[in-house]
Amino acid sequence: MKSDPELYDYLPYKNRPKITWPGGARLAFWVAPNIEFYELEPPGNPQRTPWARPIPDVLAYSYRDYGNRVGFWRMMEAMEKYGVRGSVSLNVAVCDHHPEIIAECVKRDWEFYSHGTYNTRYTFGMSEAQERALIEDAIATVKKHSGQKLAGWLSPALTNTERTMDLLAEYGLLYTCDLFHDDQPMPVKVKSGRLISIPYSLEMNDIIAYNSNLVPPRQYGEIIKAQFDQLYEEGETSGTVMCIPLHPFLVGQPHRIAAFADALAYITRHDKVWVTTGREIAQHFLANHHDDFLAASRRSAPR
C-alpha cells in the first residue's frame, strides 16, 4: 500500500493559470444525478456488506428504488425548468432494468458517465481482468443505449483499485469524479494518455447533506447557494467548477424538491455561469488549460 495516492502533485490555490470557461464564464456549473440500481440479493464481498440488515433489507432496498419509480421525474422536471442538463452517474445495469429512464435522459441530451454496473458490486479487490471487464461493460452499454462515447467515471459506491485511473486513461476516458482534492479540474497522473479530475463534491452531494450531515431540506438549499456565491466570486479570477451530485431517491422526495429547485433558480439567474456537463468541462479543460496546469504542478513540486 502507498502512503500517497500518487495521482496528483500539490498545487496551491494561488497564482495558478487562470481558467476561462466558454462565453467568458467564471464558473462551470454541472449537476450529476446518480441513477442507480441496488440489488435485493447482491453477492457477498469480503470488504463490504452491501446491506446493513439481513437480506432482504426491504427498507434500504425500497428506499433507493423510490428514486427510479418516483424521484427521478421530480428531479428531472426541476432541472428542465431551469435549463440544466444532467450528467448522469450511471449504474449501467439501469439501461437493462429501466430503459424508460435512460430514454428520458437521452431525449433531453443528458450525458451518461459510468458509476459501475450495480451499486452493490464493488471495485476493490478486483483483478485487472475483472476491472477491465467492468470498464468495457460500461463503455459498451452506454454506447448501445445512448450512442455516447463514455467520457467519465465515478467508481461504484466510490470503490477503487490502485490501477483504476490508469485503466480509465488507457480506455480513452477523459475524467474521473473520484478525487475531491480541488475546486478546479486537475491533471491526474496516469501511465499512458491523459486523464483529469473534475470537482464533483461530497459537500454538495445530497446523500452526504441528508444522510451524513443530517441537514434539513431548506438548509441544503441554502448550503448550495452559499457554495455558489463563494465559487462565483472566486471564479472571476480563478475559473471554478461547481457540481451538485444528486440521488433521485433523496432530492426527489416531495419535502425536498422545492429547496433544490429554489437553489437552481438562484444559480441560473446569474450571468457568466456556464451551465454544462462533465464531458464538456473535460473537453474544454483538456483543449485549453490542461498543459498549463500540468506545467504549473511540475514547477511547484518539491525539488
Partner: protein, 307 residues
C-alpha cells in the same frame, strides 16, 4: 483480497426488477387516480402505539427507538411507554379538533396491555394496522417460516380479537421483513403492507396467497426520523411537512390523486412542547380544499376501485 470470477455475472440483469414481488413502473406514467369527492390529496396519518420490552434482545438488530442501555433500561423503556400513557392523548386532541382520522399502527402487546387505547381508537372509528407483536419481535431474513407464521398469527389474531376490527393493514416492526413475510401476511388475510418505501402511491404485490398491495407509509416524513434521528428543530419538522404537502398538492393538480402520509410516534411528537407543531403542520394542510382525511383501508378501497 480477490473476488470470485462470478462476481461480475449478473443473472438478474433484465428489464424490470431483480425479483418478482412487484412490477417496475414509473409513477408519472400510471393512470390518474381520483379520490372520493374529487379530493386532490388523501391525508393518511399513522401514529404508532408501540411497546419495547424491558428484556429486549435487539436481535438481529435494534428497531428504531429500541432500548440502548444495560438491563434494566428504565430510561428508554419508560420514555417510549410515555407515548401510550400521555402522548397519544395529545395527538388525539389535535386530530379531534381538526376533524381528522388516523390509522394507528399497534403492536399486539399494546392491545393486550392497554385496552383503554382500543376503546379510544374504536370510539373515533380509527383504523388499527397490525404492527407485529412488539418492537423486539422482528421479522428478518433467517427467521424460520414457522416461527414467523406464529408471530404474524399472534399479532393479527390478538388485534382482531381485542379490537373487533377486521385488521387488513400491516406494518412490520422496524419495517423489516424476511423473504417470507409478504406470503405469511397474505395467508393471514392482510390486504396491504406498509414496509416498502419505494412509491408515493399504492401498487400491487405478489404473494403465494394471492395479490396484496403496498401502501406508501413514510419513513423520512416521520417525527422520530426528523426530530430524534436527524436532530432537526420543530420548526424544521413543520417546514418539511408543509413542503411535502405543497409538492403533492400541486402535483395532484397535474397527475391525479396523491397520498400525504405522516408517521407519528406519540413519545416524540406527544411531548408537551412539541405538540403545537403538529397542530401547526396539520392546520396548514386542512386549510386547503380537496384534502380527504382517510384510513389506509379507505385509501386502498378507493384505489382498488380504479385499478
Amino acid at each position: 483480497m480477490s473476488l470470485p470470477d462470478d462476481y461480475l455475472k449478473y443473472p438478474k440483469r433484465r428489464h424490470g426488477m431483480d425479483h418478482d414481488r412487484y412490477d417496475w413502473s414509473m409513477l408519472v406514467k400510471r393512470r390518474k387516480i381520483v379520490w372520493p369527492g374529487d379530493a386532490r390529496v388523501a391525508l393518511w396519518i399513522v401514529p404508532a402505539l408501540t411497546w419495547y420490552p424491558l428484556d429486549s434482545k435487539g436481535k438481529p438488530f435494534r428497531a428504531p427507538g429500541a432500548l440502548l442501555n444495560p438491563y434494566p433500561d428504565y430510561r428508554h423503556y419508560t420514555h417510549r411507554d410515555y407515548g401510550n400513557r400521555v402522548g397519544i392523548f395529545r395527538i388525539m386532541k389535535v386530530m379531534d379538533d381538526l376533524g381528522l382520522k388516523a390509522s394507528v399502527a399497534m403492536n399486539a402487546a399494546v392491545a393486550t396491555r392497554y385496552p383503554a387505547l382500543i376503546e379510544e381508537i374504536n370510539a373515533r372509528a380509527w383504523e388499527i394496522i397490525a404492527h407485529g407483536v412488539d418492537m423486539d419481535k422482528l421479522h428478518y431474513g433467517g427467521l424460520a417460516p414457522d416461527a414467523e407464521r406464529a408471530l404474524v398469527q399472534e399479532a393479527v389474531g390478538t388485534l382482531r380479537q381485542r379490537s373487533g376490527q377486521k385488521i387488513t393493514g400491516w406494518l412490520s416492526p422496524g419495517k423489516s421483513e424476511s423473504g417470507n413475510t409478504l406470503d405469511l401476511l397474505a395467508e393471514a388475510g392482510i390486504a396491504y403492507v406498509c414496509d416498502w418505501i419505494n412509491d408515493d402511491m399504492p401498487y400491487g404485490v405478489r404473494t403465494s396467497h394471492g395479490g396484496i398491495h403496498a401502501l406508501p407509509h413514510p419513513y423520512e416524513l416521520d417525527d422520530y426520523t426528523i426530530l430524534i434521528q436527524n436532530h432537526h428543530s420543530e420548526a424544521d419538522f413543520v417546514q418539511q411537512v408543509i413542503d411535502q404537502f405543497d409538492a403533492l398538492y400541486a402535483e395532484a393538480g397535474q397527475q391525479g390523486g396523491r397520498i400525504m402520509a405522516l408517521g407519528l410516534n406519540p413519545w416524540v411528537i406527544g411531548c408537551p412542547y412539541r405538540i403545537k407543531y403538529l397542530r401547526q403542520a396539520l392546520t396548514h394542510i386542512v386549510s386547503h380544499k380537496g384534502v380527504w382525511s382517510a384510513t389506509g383501508a379507505e385509501i386502498l378501497a378507493a384505489f382498488r376501485g380504479q385499478e
